[in-house]
């Protein structure tokens, strides 16, 4: 939940100009399902199974689809930038633009990845990950989650994946749609993250940085008043 709140806080701060454009690599602590802003809980999640398996259900501020997260199995990053960075681009163009550096880097690591509009990164083995954007206060938040390894059986116990969702995928099995990075590389998860950070830093002359105490405090406050509440998580029951 702290991750959801930090995304909101940092987007606002970049929009207000009190923080420079930022790349954040997420640290996941618990297994969870992250719902898109406009998804219905009961349509996406078997809440009973999630509770039984100790999997938290949270909602993020961007649209898009539900993600099943296992802390050591996912790589997630956010970019916070002024909207001027994507000025003149359509929404689909901005999605492709803000994921392009990762696709290039994955290919350099020998993974046969490419971008699939609107918001997916895929390989011949299946979907690696997806992106979502929110726009607030003149800033764009672009975050992407990629699967490194995934227990698809566990995912299917928690996520409801109806036939309509697979209707245009040419497959009736959700299992066949997932193509985690570990299928295409022997690099560890942390080695991939290191390579991504290095390539981003080189390309955009970025410097290492940390969260300010006041940013962490503000995010903690928002977890308490909003992101941890049923009024937010179940805003669409």
């Amino acid at each position: 939940m702290m991750n959801m709140a930090l995304d909101e806080v940092l987007t606002e701060r970049v929009g207000r100009g009190v923080r420079p454009p930022t790349l954040r690599i997420w640290a996941w602590t618990d297994p969870c399902v992250v719902l898109g802003r406009f998804q219905s809980v009961r349509n996406e999640v078997d809440e009973e199974a999630a509770a039984r398996l100790g999997i938290q259900v949270v909602r993020r501020i961007s649209g898009g689809g539900a993600m099943f997260i296992q802390p050591e199995g996912a790589i997630t990053w956010s970019i916070y930038a002024p909207e001027s960075l994507v000025a003149g681009m359509s929404f689909p163009e901005s999605y492709a633009f803000l994921d392009a550096w990762v696709v290039r880097e994955l290919r350099e690591l020998g993974i046969d990845a490419w971008y699939a509009p609107l918001n997916d990164i895929v390989s011949s083995a299946g979907k690696i990950g997806g992106a979502a954007q929110a726009r607030r206060h003149g800033a764009v938040l672009h975050h992407t989650t990629m699967a490194y390894e995934m227990d698809v059986g566990l995912m299917l116990q928690v996520l409801r994946i109806g036939q309509e969702k697979l209707s245009d995928k040419g497959t009736r099995s959700a299992e066949k749609r997932v193509g985690p990075l570990a299928l295409g590389t022997r690099l560890s998860r942390s080695a991939i993250i290191d390579r991504l950070v290095e390539s981003f830093s080189t390309r955009y002359a970025a410097t290492a940085d940390g969260l300010l105490p006041e940013e962490v405090a503000e995010a903690g406050r928002r977890v308490e008043v909003r992101f941890s509440t049923p009024a937010w998580t179940h805003v669409l029951p």
Binding site: G36, R37, F38, Q39, S40, N43, I61, S62, G63, G64, G65, A66, F91, P92, P117, L118, A132, Q133, A134, R135, G162, E164, K165, S167, D168, L236, P237
Partner: protein, 106 residues
């Protein structure tokens, strides 16, 4: 949404796009308690509420073209619906109406 048994549920996935789901009830021949959801994107976020509001109170026998028209007119100008469309929403409503209340609960 407390009484699931009187709800109807319909979904439509735009080929190559996103899924939209509609939950609703019917009272006196009109759509009521409409909830729109899905993995689409709406910019700005506030315009999302327009979708359900536009469908609320629509007659059930007006046809999908009329429903799509309502959604199009109700969606604030300048807003963008990414991955679905007014026509997609209308198809999901049509599918919900083709079910009996509570059907989706299996």
């Amino acid at each position: 949404m407390s009484d699931d048994r009187s709800r109807r549920h319909g979904e439509y996935k735009t080929p190559g796009g996103k899924l939209v789901a509609v939950d609703l009830r019917v009272a006196d021949g009109l759509l009521t308690d409409v909830q729109v959801s899905g993995d689409f994107f709406v910019y700005p976020e506030e315009a999302f509420a327009d979708l359900a509001v536009a469908l609320e109170g629509a007659p059930i026998d007006g046809g999908e073209a009329a429903l799509a028209d309502r959604v199009r007119r109700g969606f604030r100008s300048g807003a963008e619906l990414l991955g679905s469309s007014p026509e997609g929403l209308a198809i999901a409503v049509g599918r919900a109406l083709a079910t009996r209340p509570g059907d989706h609960l299996g």
